[in-house]
C-alpha cells in the first residue's frame, strides 16, 4: 500500500516538474494588467506601472 502510494506520489511530482518546465512556471512575482491601450507605444509616460511607487533600498553597508 505504502509502496503504491509512494509510486503514485513520485509520478505526480515528476508530472508537476514536467508541467512546470513545459509551461514555463516561475517563482518571480509579476502582475498581469489586461487591456493596456495601444497608445502606450506612442506615449510611454501615459502608462502607470504597478511598481512605480516601489520604495527601494538606496544604501549600502
Amino acid at each position: 500500500m505504502i509502496l503504491k502510494g509512494f509510486l503514485i506520489y513520485g509520478l505526480v511530482v515528476l508530472a508537476l516538474v514536467s508541467v512546470a518546465e513545459l509551461r514555463g512556471w516561475s517563482l518571480d512575482r509579476v502582475d498581469q494588467v489586461p487591456n493596456v491601450p495601444k497608445t502606450v507605444r506612442d506615449n510611454p509616460g501615459s502608462y502607470r506601472s504597478v511598481y512605480s511607487s516601489y520604495h527601494h533600498y538606496t544604501g549600502g553597508k
Binding site: 509512494f6 513520485g10 516538474v17 512546470a20 509551461r23 493596456v36 527601494h56 549600502g60
Partner: protein, 456 residues
C-alpha cells in the same frame, strides 16, 4: 446416531470430575492429553494422569489475581483450525530489579494437539512446539531454522507465578526455566528449559483484532503498548523498495532534465544597451522595438546588467503583448556596493538582475521601460536582454526534495520502530545484520557514541 440424523453428530462430552482437595467440580477438556489440572476454586495443582487426581501442589492466589482475557473453554478458529482455550499461566522475569510478566494460554484441538498463545502488553503470539531442532550458532548469537536466521533478543529466567486450567506438562508454581528468544519478525523462536531438557517453539505475531475476531470475543481487547520483539514493522520491509523507487525517480528526473535542456528554445529575442541620467528632466519611460516570442507558452527571462559601483538603478518593466494589450508588469532593482572596513573588503548586491516571467503565450511583444535612480549618481549604462523558453533548474530541485523528504521520513520512522524494538533486548540497539535499517541504525549509534566520546 444414523447418518441421516438432522441434528448431526453429537457434541463431544467432557468428563466431569471433582477436586480431591475442595470438592469443586472440575472440567477436563483435553481428555487424556492433560498432565496437570489446576482447580480454579482452591488452586490445587492436580495430577491429571492419576485417576484419583493426586494433589501435587497447592498455592494461594491473590484476591486481584489476573484473569484470562480469553476465558477458559472459549473456542475459536486460528489458521483454519478450531482450538479451545484450556489452560492459562502467568510467567514473570526480573530484569534489573523490575518484574515483567506475560500470560500464556494453552489451546487444544483433538487432531492437531496443543498450541500456545502468549500475551505481553497487548501483543499476542501463536506458538507451536518445533518438531526439528534449529541450528544453534552460539558464536553469532543466532539460530537458523528452515534457512531463516533468527537473532538473539533476550535471555532471562522465567518463573511461573500463576496457573489455571489444564496443561500438557507437569506444571508447578514457582518453577523457573531459562528462556531465550530469537527473532525474525514476524516470527520468534523460543528456547526454554533447564539443563539438558530444552524445548524449542516458534511463535508468530497475531494482531489483537484478528484474535478477538477468531474467538468471537465481545470484551475490549488490550491496547498494544510499545513495540514487541517480533512485531512486524509496517515500514521496515518497504524502506529498501522506497529507496529503489527514489533511485528510479532520480534517474527519471535526470532524463527529464536532459530532455528539457535539449528541447528548450533558450532563444535570445532582444538585447539593447541604454543610458539613463536621473538628473535629466526628460521623460524617463520609453518602449523597445517589437520582438516576436515563438513556440508554445513558456517563460521569458529578462536580464538587467548595469555598470554600477556604490550606486543603484531601479527599472519598472512592462512586457506588453502588442496584439492583445495584456501587460506583465514588474520592477527590478540593480544595486552594487563595495568598500573596506575593520573586517576587510566587503561587497553587497550585484550588477546583474534576472527575472523569469512565467507562462507567456507566443506573440509580438515590446517592453515599456522606466528607469529610476538617484540624480546625484550621474549617467548609468544598463543592458536589457530577453530570452525565451529557459529551463528552470529550481523545479528539479523542488521535485527531488519532494521525493527525498517522504523517503527520509519513512526511513526515520522505520529506524525508530527498530530502535524501540531492540531497546528492550539484551543489546539495546538493533544488530548490524547487513539490512539497510540495521546499517543506518548502527551508523547513527556509532555517530552518537563518537560524539559523546568527543564531549568527554
Amino acid at each position: 446416531m444414523s447418518p441421516n440424523d438432522p441434528a448431526g453428530p453429537a457434541a463431544p462430552q467432557v468428563k466431569a470430575l471433582n477436586c480431591p482437595s475442595c470438592g469443586a467440580a472440575l472440567t477436563l477438556r483435553s481428555f487424556g492429553n492433560a498432565v496437570s489440572l489446576v482447580c480454579s476454586s482452591c488452586h490445587s495443582v492436580l495430577d491429571a494422569t492419576d485417576p484419583d487426581l493426586k494433589v501435587l501442589q497447592k498455592f494461594k492466589a491473590a484476591e486481584d489475581e489476573d484473569s484470562p482475557l480469553i476465558p477458559l473453554g472459549t473456542r475459536g478458529s486460528l489458521r483454519g483450525t478450531d482450538y479451545e482455550v484450556i489452560g492459562f499461566q502467568r510467567r514473570t522475569i526480573e530484569v534489573e530489579g523490575i518484574h515483567y510478566s506475560w500470560h500464556e494460554y494453552v489451546l487444544f484441538n483433538p487432531a492437531k494437539g496443543f498450541r500456545y498463545l502468549t500475551e505481553y502488553d497487548g501483543h499476542w503470539n501463536l506458538f507451536s512446539i518445533l518438531r526439528s531442532l534449529p541450528e544453534d550458532d552460539s558464536g553469532a548469537s543466532t539460530v537458523t531454522y528452515l534457512g531463516e536466521v533468527y537473532r538473539h533478543f533476550q535471555t532471562a529466567d522465567a518463573t511461573t507465578t500463576f496457573v489455571l486450567g489444564e496443561f500438557p506438562w507437569r506444571v508447578r508454581m514457582g518453577e523457573s526455566v531459562t528462556v531465550s528468544d530469537y527473532v525474525s519478525s514476524p516470527r520468534v523462536i523460543s528456547k526454554e528449559g533447564t539443563g539438558k531438557e530444552v524445548t524449542w517453539s516458534m511463535g508468530e505475531y497475531v494482531t489483537c483484532g484478528d484474535l478477538w475476531k477468531s474467538f468471537n470475543l465481545t470484551n475490549e481487547p488490550p491496547v498494544p503498548v510499545g513495540v514487541y520483539e517480533n512485531q512486524p514493522s509496517p515500514l521496515s520491509a518497504s524502506v529498501k523498495s522506497i529507496w529503489a523507487m527514489v533511485g528510479m525517480f532520480l534517474i527519471a528526473s535526470l532524463l527529464l532534465l536532459v530532455i528539457v535542456y535539449v528541447t528548450a528554445r533558450s532563444e535570445s529575442v532582444f538585447e539593447q544597451t541604454y543610458s539613463f541620467d536621473a538628473a535629466s528632466h526628460d521623460e524617463a519611460s520609453f518602449v523597445t522595438p517589437v520582438f516576436a516570442l515563438h513556440g508554445h507558452t513558456s517563460d521569458v527571462e529578462l536580464t538587467t546588467i548595469a555598470s554600477l559601483n556604490n550606486s543603484w538603478i531601479y527599472v519598472n518593466y512592462a512586457l506588453i503583448n502588442q496584439d492583445t494589450g495584456r501587460a506583465y508588469d514588474f520592477g527590478r532593482e540593480v544595486s552594487y556596493y563595495s568598500g573596506r572596513d575593520s573586517d576587510g573588503e566587503w561587497t553587497e548586491g550585484s550588477n546583474t538582475n534576472i527575472v523569469t516571467i512565467p507562462s507567456i503565450p507566443p506573440g509580438n511583444y515590446y517592453l515599456r521601460i522606466e528607469p529610476e535612480s538617484d540624480p546625484a549618481l550621474g549617467v548609468i549604462l544598463y543592458t536589457v536582454s530577453v530570452k525565451r523558453d529557459i529551463p528552470q533548474l529550481i523545479f528539479f530541485g523542488f521535485g527531488i526534495l519532494a521525493i527525498l523528504i517522504p523517503a527520509l521520513f519513512i526511513t526515520w520512522r522505520a529506524m525508530n520502530f527498530e530502535h524501540l524494538r531492540w531497546a528492550e533486548s539484551d543489546y539495546g540497539t538493533p544488530p548490524d545484520d547487513g539490512s539497510l535499517i540495521g546499517t543506518l541504525e548502527n551508523l547513527a549509534s556509532n555517530f552518537k557514541s563518537s560524539n559523546s566520546g568527543d564531549d568527554e
